[in-house]
Structure formats: structure tokens, C-alpha cells
């Protein structure tokens, strides 16, 4: 290409850029309040190392979109769902989100599910024009909403609510010395820090350690636990390391419920851990930052569980992971916010969706949801489970 053509071409390009504001196509308005196209995205680790929490959440979101469309969608327009599998990787998330950022009909994200992914990609979402809002069902790190952005919202409780609640639970159960462990992941490290802080502030001696993701030999650490003389082991983990860990505890004569107590966190109220640990997990406790609809008695929750089962099979709930309830809830919130946003020329602006999220009040299977100015829910609860026999039983709800 010769020089003169280059200049002409560049001139065209810059004209094109200047006219960019209009976005893709101007199809004009349809009927007054009916938008032309509405899309939302579901984002999370749907495959990969965290598929056990992601798969069930995706099913829940798909169900939520289907139900919403069946009830009329956004004034007649059905919502399309994009599926962004970020595989628990923030860089992959950024690339996937790029697809949505430049498309003004993508109005929000249900997810990302992992705190680390949110923290690693929120800048791009915030800097987009207009910014792309997200409603997460499980990101619990405090920085997600504390860092002052306008896009992040979440329906689950934060680490600084769960940590103290966990600490208080152990103290109430008579803990004297707690060995605090995490699994070196974006979720567990922050949470374990919060719990340890609470325990130390209440004069409970603690020792801190971590397991590496994928570690299977815990012999050295367990010997340390015995040396420390702990009566409680707190293991913040998303699930995979728990079964080998408690099995090896038993191999070194630490029997849960007999000479030691165990408290796990989200992902560890999974009954398959009992099978995988061949019973060593029996008697262990676990807390969760969202409710399990199957453990609630409200009509909204029960009918949701029935609907989930009839859509995905009678054993679907047991395989759905810890967030199949909060994912549905988060989707409901986002969809209602979109529905309540004004339609101008057949389009809904993300800025209006963000305003709705900030000011509106939404009815979900867990009751009414309202966000505070940072994007956190007011009044989130922590739920305690215990392994009894071959299932996890809901004990009670606690707060810090």
C-alpha cells in the first residue's frame, strides 16, 4: 500500500471512529416499551478445576432465564443467555467479557463466581462505556465491592461476615485451640484470614498453615496439628482437598467427632466428601455463605427445588454444588433490574440497569433482596451443616 492511500484510509478510519457512538445498526424503535434485543451472560468455572461448583450454577441460571421468558420476558422480548466459561481464570474472563463489552445489547453478567476472577476483570467492565454490571452468586472476597466500583453486586455474604460467623460458631462449640488452614486459592485465603483474625481477637490461640491446590500428602501438616494440640481444625477450601485431608487425619489417629472437631466452608457441605473419605468426614461441620433451597421451608424455595428436579433429574440437586440457589437468585435480580429499566428507541442502557440495581428491591426465592451502596446485600446469612451418616444436614443459621 502506498503512502497516499494510507492517509486516505486512515482518514476514513478516523471518521468511522468518530461516528462510532451510534453503535451497531439503528433499527429504530419497536413498540414503545419493547426492546429489540436483550442479552445477559452467565459467567463462571463451568469446566475445569471448579466445575463442581460451576455446573450447577449454570443450570440454575438457565432455568431462571427460561422462567423469566415464560412470564413474558422484558415486555415481550425474550432474553438470550450467553455462556462464558472462564475456567476460574481471570485472563480468559477478560477475553470473554470483551465480546460482551462492545455489544450494547449485553446488559449484565450473572457471575463471575470466583472472587479472584472478579477482581482480575472488573477494571475492564468498569472502564467500558457504558460500564457492564455484574451480579455474583458466590464471590465473597471483601475487595470485590470495597474497591469502589459501580458495577459489582453480589447476593452472597462476604468473607468478613463469614469469617467471624465461623469463628463464633467454633467458640460457641467450645473451641480452645484452632488450627486454621486454607487451600491457597482466591477464595479460601481471604476467608481463613478473617476467621483467624476473629479468633485471635477473642484470645483463642491459632496456628496457620496452607495446603497447596492439588496437594494430596498432608502427613507433615497433620503431624503439626497433633503437635499443636488443636481441638478444632478449620479448613477453608472449595472441596477437592477435604476428603484426602480428613482421611489422613484418621490415619494419624485424629478422628472427627471423637478427639478433634472439623469446620469446613463453602464447597465442603458436599455429601460426596463423606463417600470419598470413606466415612472419615462423619461429624464434620461446614458453613456456606448462601442458603440451600432444599433446606428451607418457604414455598418459594420448595417450589424452586421441585422445578430444578423436574428440569434436570431427581438427583440433580445433590450434584448441583453449593450455589444452585444463589445463582438463580442472582439471575432473578439482574433480570428484574433489566425489566424495570426504561426502553429508549428499542434499547436499554446499561447505565439504567446499574441505577436499578442500586435502588431497586427485588423478589427472589430467598425473599426480598436490596443492595447497599457498595453492592452488598443487606442481611446475608451463614448456614451451618453437619455430616451425619451419608448426608449433610442443615443445623442452623448463624451470624458473626
Amino acid at each position: 500500500m502506498g503512502k497516499p492511500r494510507l492517509i486516505v484510509f486512515a482518514a476514513f478510519a478516523s471518521l468511522g471512529l468518530a461516528a462510532c457512538g451510534g453503535g451497531a445498526g439503528n433499527n429504530g424503535g419497536g413498540t414503545a416499551n419493547k426492546p429489540d434485543k436483550v442479552q445477559i451472560a452467565a459467567e463462571g468455572p463451568f469446566t475445569g478445576d471448579q466445575a463442581s461448583i460451576g455446573a450447577g450454577a449454570l443450570q440454575a441460571i438457565q432455568l431462571a432465564v427460561k422462567d423469566f421468558n415464560n412470564q413474558g420476558g422484558v415486555n415481550g422480548t425474550k432474553v438470550s443467555l450467553l455462556v462464558w466459561d472462564d475456567q476460574h481464570n481471570a485472563q480468559t474472563a477478560q477475553t470473554l467479557q470483551a465480546q460482551g463489552i462492545s455489544d450494547p445489547t449485553v446488559l449484565g453478567i450473572v457471575g463471575p463466581m470466583n472472587s479472584g476472577v472478579v477482581l482480575g476483570s472488573v477494571q475492564g467492565l468498569q472502564n467500558a462505556s457504558p460500564p457492564l454490571p455484574l451480579v455474583s452468586e458466590s464471590a465473597s472476597n471483601v475487595k470485590v465491592t470495597d474497591s469502589g466500583n459501580s458495577v459489582a453486586h453480589r447476593v452472597n455474604a462476604r468473607d468478613d461476615a463469614q469469617g467471624p460467623a465461623d469463628g463464633k460458631f467454633m467458640i460457641d462449640q467450645g473451641a480452645k485451640k484452632v488450627f486454621v488452614m486454607d487451600a491457597k486459592s482466591d477464595y479460601s485465603t481471604g476467608l481463613a484470614d478473617q476467621t483467624q483474625q476473629y479468633l485471635t481477637a477473642h484470645n483463642i490461640p491459632t496456628q496457620r498453615d496452607s495446603a497447596k491446590a492439588g496437594q494430596t500428602d498432608f502427613g507433615t501438616i497433620i503431624t503439626k496439628i497433633k503437635q499443636f494440640g488443636a481441638d478444632w481444625v478449620y479448613f477453608a477450601d472449595e472441596g477437592p482437598e477435604t476428603a484426602p485431608f480428613v482421611s489422613q487425619m484418621k490415619q494419624q489417629n485424629l478422628n472427627i467427632g471423637q478427639n478433634i472437631q472439623f469446620l469446613g466452608t463453602d464447597g465442603e457441605e458436599d455429601p460426596s466428601i463423606i463417600t470419598k473419605s470413606q466415612g472419615a468426614y462423619d461429624g464434620a461441620y461446614a458453613t456456606n455463605i448462601t442458603a440451600d433451597p432444599a433446606g428451607l421451608t418457604s414455598s418459594a424455595a420448595t417450589s424452586y427445588v421441585n422445578e430444578f428436579k423436574s428440569a434436570y433429574g431427581s438427583d440433580a440437586v445433590s450434584k448441583a454444588g453449593p450455589f444452585y440457589g444463589s445463582a438463580y437468585e442472582a439471575a432473578q435480580v439482574l433480570l428484574q433490574a433489566i425489566k424495570n429499566s426504561p426502553v429508549k428507541n428499542g434499547k436499554i442502557s446499561r447505565n439504567d440497569v446499574i441505577n436499578q440495581l442500586g435502588s431497586g428491591s427485588f423478589s427472589t426465592i430467598f425473599g426480598t433482596v436490596k443492595f447497599n451502596s457498595k453492592g452488598d446485600v443487606q442481611g446475608g446469612g451463614i448456614y451451618v451443616y453437619q455430616a451425619k451418616g451419608s448426608s449433610m444436614v442443615v443445623l442452623k443459621q448463624v451470624s458473626g
Partner: protein, 304 residues
């Protein structure tokens, strides 16, 4: 004192696994001067084969066949399966490159390692697979003072020792062993002496891989789990052990493995579990700088 002993026991248990896998690395390096990066993954495949047999024959926490037979089948599956895999890999991926530049088989070995890991991840399971060991071996926990250790780990150490002694006898007291040592010393000269080098290499790969497969079985019996990346870190550590002991030297690999396990446990128990691996590798680098031939190796001649 009790704590020290407990960590020593941990170290010996983990070290026995390292030693078994290190033996494989050292055998292959001695014969071909090839660092078989895929060896750790052969260990992983052995573990999965054993887990597979268990999954087939154990239902609802009860074995469908007598325990002895079950274990026998698992041994055959893991050792023969891993051994066969090793031979196949040698034939397909390494033999064509036997006379190539040193880089070539190394790069191929990395490819084989990644292949085995991905194949198991995609074909079997990305999540860890559980094994119902309660139905296979005794779950008694032995108490020696303040040290508690399960039967499976004691078995691990015992079997590893037996295998190591057996291998030592095989390599140093049998005719085939002499052939192996001759090929390791000088491949060309061995051909002139009438040794079928290809066959020796094949058997070496089989033996090395079978040992790794056995290690996989012992692992499964102790840890009741198998996952696709379990061979990666363990392979690197076993390989570190082989180098520390003197790569190419069988007794070096045995001692290196046990020593590495001990070091790891003691460093983890007294200094830091988090930086355990870091110290282990720093140790490796230190050994390579100060005494590159390892503990038992011959001083290296300057070959380009």
C-alpha cells in the same frame, strides 16, 4: 522427640515412593542418557489402573472377590500396564530419535508427559477419583509412642524396600543385569559384544515403568485417591532424588529418594510447609553446583 520421630516416619513413607519412582528415572537415564519427563506420569497411569481394577471389583464397600485376589489383580494391572506403556512410549516416541541431538528426545518426553496427563484428564476424570480402600486392605492404625501410622503406609515402606533389594540383585547378580550395565556404560561396545541393545533397552523401560506402576498402586492403597496431575510434582521430586543420589546409579536413587523424603518432612515440620518445595529445589541446585555427579555418581567427564 515424638514430633521428630513422627516427621521422620512421614519422611520415610513419602521417601519410599520417591525412591521407587527415582529408580525408574535412573535406570532409563543410565541406559539412554535420557531424562524421561514422562516417567512421573507412568506412575500416575499405574495408579489409575489399580484404581480401575478396584472400581470394577468393589461395590458398596465390599470386594466382589477375595482380598488377596483383588490385590493380586491390582498388582498385575498396575505393573504390567505401566510396564507395557513404558515400552510402547519408548518404541513410538524415543527410539526414532535415539541418535538425534540431545534436545530432541527431551522435548518429545515433555510432549509425552503432557499427553498422558491430558489424556487421563479428558478421558477419565479431571476431578480426583476415589478408591474404596477400606474393602481392600486393613485400615488398622499402628501406635508407636506418639507416632501413629496406618497399615497401608507400613506396607508401602516394606514393599518398596523389597523391590529395591530385588532390583539391586537383578542388576548386579544376573546375566541380564550385566547386559544392562554394559549397555549403560557404552552402547556401541555392547553391540560389538553381541548384546541385543534394543531388547535391553526395552526390558529396562519395562522394569522402570513397572516399578513406577507399583508405586502407583501403593500410593492408591495409602491415599485412596488418584488424579491426573499426581505424577507431575512427584515425578519432579523423584527425579531430583535420582540426581541427588547420582543419576544413573541405582543405589544412589534409593538413598536419594529416602533422603529427599526425610528432608522434605523435616523441613516442612521444622521450618515451613509452604516453602518446603522451594527449599527442596534449592537443595537440588546446591547439590548440582557443589557435586554435580550426586552422592554416588562418578565425577563427570567433560563430554560436550
Amino acid at each position: 522427640m515424638g514430633y521428630f520421630l513422627a516427621q521422620v516416619v512421614n519422611g520415610l513413607e513419602v521417601g519410599s515412593l520417591y525412591a521407587l519412582v527415582a529408580l525408574g528415572y535412573t535406570l532409563i537415564y543410565g541406559i539412554l542418557e535420557l531424562l524421561n519427563f514422562a516417567h512421573g506420569d507412568i506412575f500416575m497411569v499405574g495408579a489409575f489402573l489399580a484404581a480401575g481394577v478396584a472400581a470394577l471389583l468393589v461395590h458398596n464397600e465390599a470386594a466382589a472377590v477375595p482380598a488377596g485376589l483383588l490385590i493380586g489383580l491390582m498388582i498385575v494391572a498396575s505393573m504390567a500396564g505401566a510396564g507395557g506403556l513404558g515400552v510402547a512410549i519408548e518404541r513410538v516416541a524415543y527410539r526414532p530419535l535415539r541418535n538425534a541431538n540431545r534436545l530432541a528426545p527431551l522435548i518429545t518426553a515433555i510432549g509425552v508427559s503432557l499427553f498422558l496427563e491430558s489424556a487421563v484428564q479428558v478421558g477419565i476424570s479431571p476431578a480426583p477419583v476415589g478408591v474404596q480402600t477400606h474393602a481392600i486392605i486393613s485400615q488398622t492404625v499402628f501406635h508407636l509412642g506418639s507416632v501413629d501410622t496406618p497399615f497401608s503406609k507400613v506396607l508401602l515402606v516394606a514393599v518398596a524396600l523389597v523391590l529395591m533389594v530385588g532390583l539391586d540383585l537383578f542388576v548386579f547378580r544376573t546375566q541380564f543385569g550385566s547386559a544392562m550395565r554394559a549397555t549403560a556404560q557404552d552402547r556401541e561396545a555392547a553391540t560389538f559384544m553381541g548384546i541385543d541393545v534394543d531388547r535391553v533397552i526395552m526390558v529396562t523401560f519395562f522394569v522402570a515403568s513397572a516399578l513406577a506402576g507399583m508405586a502407583g498402586l501403593l500410593y492408591v492403597l495409602s491415599y485412596a485417591t488418584a488424579q491426573f496431575f499426581m505424577g507431575y510434582l512427584l515425578g519432579i521430586k523423584a527425579f531430583t532424588a535420582a540426581v541427588i543420589g547420582g543419576i544413573g546409579n541405582i543405589r544412589g536413587a534409593m538413598v536419594g529418594g529416602l533422603l529427599l523424603g526425610l528432608l522434605e518432612s523435616l523441613i516442612g515440620g521444622y521450618i515451613s510447609t509452604q516453602f518446603q518445595d522451594t527449599f527442596v529445589f534449592l537443595g537440588l541446585i546446591l547439590v548440582l553446583l557443589v557435586r554435580p555427579q550426586g552422592l554416588f555418581g562418578q565425577p563427570l567427564t567433560d563430554r560436550a
